[in-house]
Symmetry: C2
Subunit: 160 residues, 2 copies
């Protein structure tokens, strides 16, 4: 254990350690740190942002390790990767946001995410109907859908 690391090492995503060990992999400090940073983030983070945050407490970490860990966590379904078109991928803890159904309100400036529960049932009802009609009509095998509202959050609005 490394005394350079002050960050809390037990991320809330309890499936992390089990998932890692089930695959015959090892639980390491960098893996816990990457998951921990994402777990306490309130929005999407880029690999570099994760790297920078971890370095505050654990200066030895390498950016390549962050990337490798993100690939692993993505494959395990613990984080979701998303690309907003600003040149780098961004990551968010998966939680209840399943891979088939993602509804979010995202700030275009800071990538903060607000999860909302209003209308979720209405949305799902509508989307089930849309999916069944579309898949029948166009022969698509539909796997998932994305609903995202983009805007500027109160904090970023103030900054302007």
């Amino acid at each position: 254990m490394d005394e350079n690391c002050n960050r809390r090492l037990i991320p809330c995503c309890m499936n992390l350690e089990g998932g890692i060990r089930n695959r015959g992999l090892r639980m390491t400090i960098p893996r816990q740190l990457v998951a921990g940073v994402l777990d306490t983030a309130d929005g999407y983070l880029s690999a570099d942002e994760i790297y920078t945050r971890i370095r505050e407490d654990y200066p030895g970490i390498g950016l390549a390790t962050v990337y490798r860990t993100l690939v692993l966590l993505d494959e395990m379904g613990i984080v979701n990767r998303y690309n907003f078109g600003d040149g780098c991928a961004r990551f968010i803890i998966a939680e209840e946001q399943t891979s088939e159904h993602s509804h979010q309100l995202v700030c275009e400036k800071c990538f903060k995410v607000v999860k909302y529960s209003d209308f979720v049932k209405d949305e799902l009802d509508l989307f089930r109907r849309v999916e069944s009609v579309l898949s029948e009509k166009h022969g698509f095998e539909i796997n998932r859908h994305i609903v995202q509202f983009y805007g500027i959050c109160p904090d970023c609005k103030e900054e302007k």
Copy 2:
């Protein structure tokens, strides 16, 4: 005019030439070709795919020119840029798909797009309600939303 170019030079997006000239810019063959390829595409294309298609008829074109033209067409609102997370941006002609409201059924393998008209009114009604509640509740200034269904199109399903 270059006789190496056999491709039809008049893309359907008639606002192209006017928009270009209004900005004091010049109408050139590469610009017409990029717009033309996107205009006849049935889905999202990457810069490299556009470049490859143009080179069949106009071998002299440079990839940098394709990128520069895509930036221009994006700024003009003639094409929309989108990022599916596979490492490169993809482009589609804007048409009726406005920047505030985008509903699509996208093939995850070939990026073909099916535009659907079913439920569009239901979706818009619901989304207006969701937007007004969310913006009030969370203080967001909401600019646009995206609805995308992802799946495998009939052609790609067959190939498997």
